[in-house]
Symmetry: D4
Subunit: 253 residues, 8 copies
């Protein structure tokens, strides 16, 4: 039940077309069912163009096609993450207008006109080339959510000069996503160089005492740079979405 | 060496007051020493009024007084965290214009005129009354950095109606800091209700399999709500600083 | 040695057909061997119709057929868990009256007349669609043990309205099994909404810092909702069995 | 806003005393604020007599007295857990009608007439004498919630005969709470002996590789006895409350 | 009920003094109560002189005196472990014939005539001087259980020659207990030098990544020397008792 | 250099065939090279018939054949562990007199006459059928080392009567190896029933919070039964070898 | 910008060919971009002949060929680690002058004349044959970096005499790399025997409570031998490189 | 038995004063007892002047005085670590010529003439002021072992310019010890800037998910800079000793 439905109900009551008891009956189930949902979901309506997100891992090609077709009918924009090449190909064959990014393992189907809604560039940088898939997932997510994105790779802290050579890019970004595996030190260095929000993404790149990304995760949580925030290991999508929450254009109060 | 120093050097060279070899000698050590520092620190100069931050834990009263006096001479604003009552009292006695918050365990000494620089309210909510010290540390930090802050306590997920009763406050915030110990579920629920940035702060509240806040930390990192970010256990300061990074007023490019 | 055997022995003694020493000899080995077993197993006899349970994982098709045939001869009801599709097919071919649930990975062969023995409905709800296999295993187990079961899926805490829309179902259940992976927050919310027993089941759904279900497990153990209980990660069977222990009809003393 | 308030509102609308727009305005804030709260809290009203629970650890004597006085005015029954002897004495001095249990570290103030509401006895057994404080906390909690409780101590699995000597007590209980530290094996043995619900409580008793109760917790979660459920380490209160959820008298549908 | 009681019962039956039904009634409760206990405890009677063991940690002086007095009345030998100096002094004052070992933190009260019952010497060696308390607890335990014990200290693997200089002692021992903290490597080296049983005891000596003895524990569990066995961290008592199980003189079948 | 070589050297010196300086030179390098080795290995010579042990996992069929052939030439007895069926078949084809145990994943080639050298039976019992491979590895190892072995399966603590029915077997064993996965409670119960040495073997049987056998391992290390010892997870070989160390017939000093 | 470029710039300024403002403009971007990079990388130029290192794991054959070809054009020496046999074969086919070591899983392409640059031998020893791949990776790395390397295998601490027989080799090495899995005790023993630098490399060899090399890693970090240093699990490359840092010939100041 | 003893023995044999059998008897026990020890300890004699090291933690003042007095009599140099202020004062009172460093918690008593034996400077740098005690312990250790040491504090990676300003110091050091807590990123950055040996020391500075230094330790073990080595958490002594092993002047072979 949307606001106009509610208005009709109240009008009918007001006009006497509906008795008080009938009104009670219909409103009784509202709070958490219909009206409740509408209220909670209200902000969703306001961010038109936000894509539906599907976690592709563990879903079969058939399931993915089914879900995508259902969403496509509602003219939703769609972002599917964690797809292997075979699933990506199947989706591209069925939806030739969609875009599969093999590195990011994402599929994006855009049905609404694209418009840039952030008020600045989201910069995604990563420490090593092995971190690229996670970095790209963050970049694709942020772009799918309507933001301008810049990507820089292979600027690990053991080769500081490569990072420092990019200081101009760092300084003009609105939000920075820093992706790193192994010891995960890059966000600390970046966080000390800039004053904008920095989102740290640990990756599972590494071996032995990297413990599947735990070393990088702990490193980022304990950063000596003030005010960094962290997402789950390999969660490029989450970082892209967090950057979207920060960078979405809002009215100044 | 600042830009004007550099200009003097080049002018001297240009005038012949300095030989090429002398210039070489003096410039050789520049890149990472003087000029380098100036460049890296450039953005610091731009955020005038940001307080100096001191981690009070493990420092003696004498050390704290010494540090604070040194900073006070430079007219810096000062934020000291993790202070016990005794240290707080000593600082208040010496700096009666400063403010000690016993719950937050913070001391703030403001010497520059206060001005609100964020473009919206930072909302700090916490799950239980035991989480209050961490929540307050976040609030004090954000205020010391020049932001308007609202605080709500005791809205844990086991009493959902208390949280839902605050949905209006949630919806009008610019950034939300959610502080919770035990299972740390509150950020997930809040993250599903709002579209603004949500910073999750796990606390060490709990016992047994809470493992000093690890349960809450893992819960927040694995949140099913998209785009949450997380800081270290009990790191109210970090959350307040992260909110500052997000909420600081910036020019739209 | 069952009670009637014991009675015969005592009667023989009483009649003089058995000497005291012979009686001593025969009783000496009783306590933990024959009589002991009978005593311990007494309650088993009382819950006729309870199925024999087999953990299917790691057993070959041949082993499973052998075990099932042996049990089937004794007219036992049988529940086999953790079966893949191939093993399920083999069992169905041999026992066409059995039922294989591919999602739950269970096989049930019922040979006694079904009767509902619980005094209320067991509700199984799960947070995400990926949690369905574990939820279904719990449901199949509870049904195999003679209870009425209701299932609700995809009511995670990040979409609170979907859960609240089911509050009527929550309120009328006798026992609720709550299945969730990732941060495992759903049981806390449900536990705050109802007063009936809530059994929390963490699942291994998630990645990175989910650590194979550990994050969800810790979250549930540290729930801020009073009186939740928890079973092992992915242990749908255990949750179903625990619900059976609770919901089995008993005489009021 | 309760149902009768809602009826008044609708009647006013129906009578024309309220315009449709005014009705819209007043209903807009309903769902999660007033009506919502009322709905969610409905079951609370139904379990009158349930005590208010306060986690005493980390609260000062002054805070505890303040809270208790406030609750006492509302004629609530009160259960405070995790109290040391000094706090217990202070509460007893102020509320002489209350009862402090030094072993359980609990304080109970009962203001409503006591009535047994469970339909059977809750049995609390523990493995060693060091587990007694946790076992007693469970017992006090269950009694404060209106149940009949029986306690058995020191029946660890390394002295099996002591446990087996209590098999009659085990068999007549409605719910069994099993408290054990070190390897936590007792619940597995008990779970194999009875068919009623068994709630396992790991304790932090032990040293070295007990890791503060982790060994016992893992042991219980991995029990080979079907259908055990587990609560947090040292969480006697939680076990008592879970037993209450199970044992509370309910209408058979 | 002991064997002679059982004989009386059967005789009464045989004589007709007891009816079959009365016999049934009295035997029904036997298995796990009286006869059961007797059977299980049978071997206890056989190892007369074995001391009663009390875990002293967490018990007050009053409790310890009470327990010890009760045991002393039954002429039991008594071993109390994990005592601090104050408790030890209190026990010595009350039982001047007892022996308090401050290093081992043990108190032994021997009331039966001492006799050596093992068939060889138990050798207790430790890696560093900080491991001595645990080593001594093992030695005291083994002696209290009636074995000849030899102790060697400070033969860590980083000074191999000191260990090798003791190879004769190693070769003549019947059982060797090896106590080591830090990396816990000593048992591996000893295990490679001798063919007798080697019991490894990790200690909590160390810091940082020793994780309270976990490093030593894991080292010993993963020893490359075949057939070592391990007890809990700091569990000198357990090692001494295990050596007793091995070294107790038994009849060759 | 063996004893007879040494004797020759000394004789040459004694005869004047070798100067003192030449003797010094030749003896200088002895200690850790030739004589050293001989000394250290002295006890090896004493336990003639002990098999050479090869860890088969990770070795190719070719490597295994090569190693086995080399050893076979020296008439050594050979025990190879952790073999899959394919490798076992290859070894059996090449050494038809050898014995491959598919359950234990072991291959034994005996070339010396078998003789029982222990002074009692080693009993291997396991909790569940899934623990059988580890239990069998222990049994095969102990047999290959010359001991009489008895095996009992499926006597888990949740079905106590099955274990108690075997109490006679428990009581007549010289050493007991107890193999259990999941919560690993069986050794505690057995340790309380017998006075002989008990070696606990945790297995990786289980899932979720069993953490690959960690739960069972911790349970066994923290057993409330005195004097149990523990080996690594799934280390049936180690348990068999430890039992051999204990049970090998030795001269009473 | 290299020193001579800088000199040209200053000369132009000095000659008046460049204005002060133009000089400022060109120098402004120097610090972290051109000059900065040059400075930081200066020492790189000094260690001519150091190979480029590529982490081969996770890279496709095509990527590896591409990278290697690019590097080969610049006449760099190349070391690729973590290659399987298939990738090694592909590289050998394309670069027949390169060398693939199947055990070490490395490929080395040397294009500069080889010269020994260390001032002593690097000794690589390992505990068991399963540790050989990691030991060999260390050896190949050290050789590729220009050092003389000696390798000793299978000198684990359970067979001390084999290690002691190699004491001469230990004593003449300049740096020793000790590779061990399982309990990782070997470095402690070696560290006690020699005074030269010892680098400990834990390997993932082992099972159960070895936890993928964690037991060995912790053992090495907690070594009782003074002044050992440790690298990541299985990090043969890192150990070889650390030995290179130590052993590289340097001028005495 | 030292070389001259051995010579006497051989001479006696040569002269016929000793029979071959008597010689056999006396040499038989040599290898690991007397001669063995001498051999193993040979290199110790070569590094005269190396101080005796005592781990002060857990030792009483009386014990420390006793040990120190004993060593002082032998004219040994002495280094005691982990001393609190009270113990330091007691040592200084007794040995006024000794030096207690309160920050490092060390006491050094030098009795041999000091001489610099390293061939370059050991640089100790630390990330934050809280890391100073560990850094100083490393510095004191290296100095006590005869090396020239330079110390730099507070050059954490979040303020990169402060580190870069010290690049000249970094480049001229012979060995660098890098001490850091929290995320432990500093060694990675330093390792990328220099080619000399870098020893990383994690500290327990931090809170929450720092897990007592574990985060820093894991970060350093997984460093992306090649060839770093790591010591235990807070092990300044170990790092100083490792630097000594590297920097000790040796003859080029």
């Amino acid at each position: 039940m949307n606001p106009s439905d509610l208005k009709h109900l109240l009008s009918a009551l007001s006009r006497g077309d509906l008795s008080v008891d009938e009104g009670m009956e219909r409103l009784k189930t509202l709070p958490f069912e219909d009206l409740g949902v509408a209220t909670v979901d209200h902000h969703r309506a306001l961010r038109q163009g936000a894509p539906e997100v599907v976690f592709g891992q563990g879903k079969s090609i058939d399931q993915l096609l089914l879900i995508t077709e259902a969403m496509a009918k509602h003219k939703s924009d769609i972002l599917i993450t964690r797809l292997d090449a075979e699933k990506g190909a199947a989706l591209c064959e069925r939806f030739p207008e969609g875009e599969f990014d093999e590195l990011a393992r994402t599929f994006v189907l855009r049905q609404s006109p694209e418009e840039i809604k952030g008020y600045g560039t989201i910069l995604v940088i990563c420490a090593g080339t092995s971190d690229l898939p996670v970095a790209r997932e963050a970049a694709v997510t942020a772009r799918a959510l309507g933001h301008e994105v810049e990507e820089i790779a292979d600027v690990g802290v053991a080769g500081l000069h490569r990072l420092l050579a990019k200081s101009e890019n760092l300084n003009r970004a609105a939000v920075i996503i820093v992706v790193a595996g192994m010891e995960g030190a890059l966000p600390s260095v970046v966080g000390g160089l800039v004053s904008v929000p920095v989102i740290a993404v640990p990756t599972s790149v590494g071996y032995g005492a990297a413990f599947g990304g735990t070393a990088a995760l702990l490193g980022m949580l304990n950063s000596c740079a003030s005010g960094l925030t962290v997402v789950n290991i390999d969660n490029g999508f989450g970082a892209g979405f967090a950057a979207h929450r920060i960078n979405a254009r809002r009215e100044t109060p």
